[in-house]
């Protein structure tokens, strides 16, 4: 039997699972603070749910098959179609704005490349029912606050934002013919992966005037909102878009995340998909792929599920985020999982060991003990190997007097305490740290 998972799939041993849970906990915690409610859908859906959004080309990238009932089905490659389906099914009953998040595992059959995975976990956060840029600011602040929660700073991560409506107005203003907007977006999108000459040739061949081409390459660079306003804020065809972006940046300032954000009109993202402000989060050193991407997709819910509501959302995967946290030494080592190891110097004390373990667990502590008779020294070695914070040592003599020794493993310090008090120790969720408040009865 193969001892390996399928190519592109991960096994999460406890150490890797602890890292995954660290990220997932941050996602859940910050989403909770932003009053987003968690939902989930099936990992298997009808194939047409995906082709309807992305066309038939997507089939080549999916895990898709015919089930035993003759249905064409696919493992979910993204969450938005399921989200749209679920919102559409209850569109009228849902309180607006809908603020939902989910943490699905997603699947793509990508041609195998080094380190390229065929599954990942992805936080999806979406808002439905609000057209104003307040919602756009709220959504980006959520993404940025997740970075903060994980210990990243604005010197580590940058959010680049653009606005599809503004970009379109600027390109038209510069003389790009309406019919050539698609070609122009493509050139903007590929600007950092393509030779300028190649793009210029293609744009010229498509009929984009030379002036407009020059403008396009000047435009698609990081700039400040102030520079944008100074240059275009007075132009009738542009000022409404500039004012909207101004309000957006003011909201980001009020929400405390403006330091993280950079206007960058070269951020285009899915052409057939996004309709307004779009954004991506990157590590500032440029070592990794995008951490997160999203934006406003006001027409998509209508196309997918027949619900004519404005909407916006983002996806943030666990893989790049994990790489970045490890590179910045921000991924905590698996915490010692154990509050107490209960040991005894006499095999006959096993019932007392078990009974004390049960009492400590009832108090919320995590507890382990040797499942087979072992010498005390061996038990204490196991306690250390398990990462226990404290060992409780029962001995035949102390036990008869209703007492036990509590040893703190980090420094070897010991105290004798009343068993009754130990049994009643209230626990928290998590490892006991610092003083335990036991009275020393020696």
């Amino acid at each position: 039997m193969s001892q390996n998972a399928l190519p592109g799939f991960r096994d999460f041993y406890p150490a890797e699972m602890s890292e995954r849970n660290h990220i997932v906990r941050a996602w859940r915690e910050v989403a909770r603070r932003y009053a987003f409610s968690e939902y989930d859908g099936p990992p298997l859906e009808s194939l047409d749910l995906y082709t309807r959004k992305s066309g038939d080309e997507i089939v080549s990238q999916l895990y898709t098959f015919e089930d035993k009932g003759g249905r064409l089905v696919a493992l979910r490659p993204e969450m938005t179609p399921t989200f749209a389906r679920m919102v559409a099914a209850r569109a009228n009953a849902l309180r607006k704005p809908v603020r939902w998040f989910s943490i699905p595992q997603l699947f793509r059959y990508e041609r195998q490349q080094k380190g390229r995975l065929r599954e990942h976990f992805q936080l999806n956060a979406d808002i439905v029912g609000e057209a104003d840029v307040t919602a756009d600011a709220e959504l980006l602040a959520l993404a940025v606050d997740i970075m903060k929660e994980l210990g990243l700073a604005s010197s580590d991560v940058r959010a680049r934002v653009s606005d599809r409506r503004l970009l379109q107005a600027l390109l038209l203003h510069a003389g790009v013919p309406e019919a050539q907007l698609g070609v122009a977006y493509g050139a903007v999108d590929r600007m950092d992966r393509e030779k300028r000459g190649d793009a210029e040739e293609r744009l010229a061949a498509a009929g984009v005037p030379a002036d407009a081409i020059r403008f396009l390459f000047e435009l698609a660079r990081p700039m400040t909102a102030d520079a944008l306003r100074a240059e275009y804020g007075g132009h009738p065809a542009l000022q409404a878009h500039v004012a909207l972006l101004d309000r957006y940046f003011a909201h980001l300032e009020a929400l405390g995340v403006a330091d993280w954000v950079q206007l960058d009109l070269s951020i285009v993202r899915g052409l057939a998909y996004y309709t307004g402000i779009v954004f991506e989060l990157f590590d500032r050193r440029g070592e990794f792929r995008a951490i997160c991407g999203g934006g406003r997709y006001d027409s998509l819910l209508d196309a997918l599920g027949g619900v004519d509501e404005p909407a916006l959302g983002f996806g943030m995967g666990d893989v790049v985020l994990g790489e970045l946290l490890r590179a910045r030494k921000l991924m905590p080592a698996a915490a010692p999982a154990l509050d107490y190891w209960v040991a005894a110097d006499d095999e006959a004390l096993l019932p007392s060991v078990m009974s004390l373990a049960a009492a400590l667990r009832t108090g919320g502590h995590s507890v382990e003990y040797a499942l087979r008779p072992q010498k005390l020294g061996r038990q204490l070695k196991s306690a250390a190997a398990a990462g226990a914070v404290r060992a409780v040592i029962l001995s035949a003599t102390e036990s008869a007097n209703g007492r036990a020794t509590v040893r703190t493993l980090a420094d070897g310090s010991e105290r004798v305490v009343a068993l009754a008090q130990l049994r009643a120790t209230p626990g928290g969720y998590g490892v006991v740290r610092g003083g335990d408040g036991f009275a020393d009865v020696r």
Copy 2:
């Protein structure tokens, strides 16, 4: 587009997700107290991982297909084969006993029946590397403590236990020929779903003597460990098995779960699989299918992954458990998710609203506010609809004085507090309850 999930698959809207998370939280919390470490594997595995354990018959119940690389793959129908594969791959490096748990979503293509699902979530908890019944007791105590954590009592749920080794010895002792043990196990297993006459006929035809058949039907009824000991404890071929079960019950007593447990030799479970103590948890009224099932499978890891280690484990699904909790009124309603709604009586205060929301979120609180300009009354209605515990009301006059009104929505009581104090309010993870310690500055 269909607005439905595939047949047998569930959509988890926030209300259902909250119920699922309630169960998952209890699973994780109790597993943590028992010092089990979480792991996970891929939801898609090679088909042969499953046929190796269960034979080719299982293929008809699987979601299985050929992937684009020509591999026969299947959505995981159970976790044990993945667990065995992962343990085998690192068998020598792992600290023993291995105490691991996982919460996979599992998939079976069952013929569609009313209410029958094709997916569920299942807690899997396993111990590897300990042959003694201490481990069996520890494992069952974990399952029972999950019941307690969820608010169930021993009057709600019963654990029925048996021992395959004892049952075999008893059947041999009663005169069942060794070659007919399989037929006898089958009759025991089906005892409560089959007419006694039919079973007797089949057993007799297979060559089981009439005395042994009578014995078999007397045996497979709930009995006490005391009665077992009194009747068989002195018999040379049986006493070792009886003594083992006695120690098991004594351990369950020490672990504080003996009240929940009933010896019941009619519990057989997977014949080709279990080798020792087996158990199932049922609701005592008998309204639902089994909540949980498991036991000792000392040969399976060797057969599956080439690791000759004793092992035991159980699976506990979310579906029956959820039905039981709802029936016993123990499933909590989705908790109010919101600590604060920030409102204002003037549209111009939006930056202050956002800034206060950001400060409260930094303190760990969950916060929402209106994303579009609304009259104050409307905002407070939204706050109530969102289940907010408190509303903070900013007004143009109070705001200028650095103050805000905090209204507790449950009783409408209000206090005026300093904005600076409010911004610095430390939060917990979760909803603020009880007094908040604000100084009233009015």
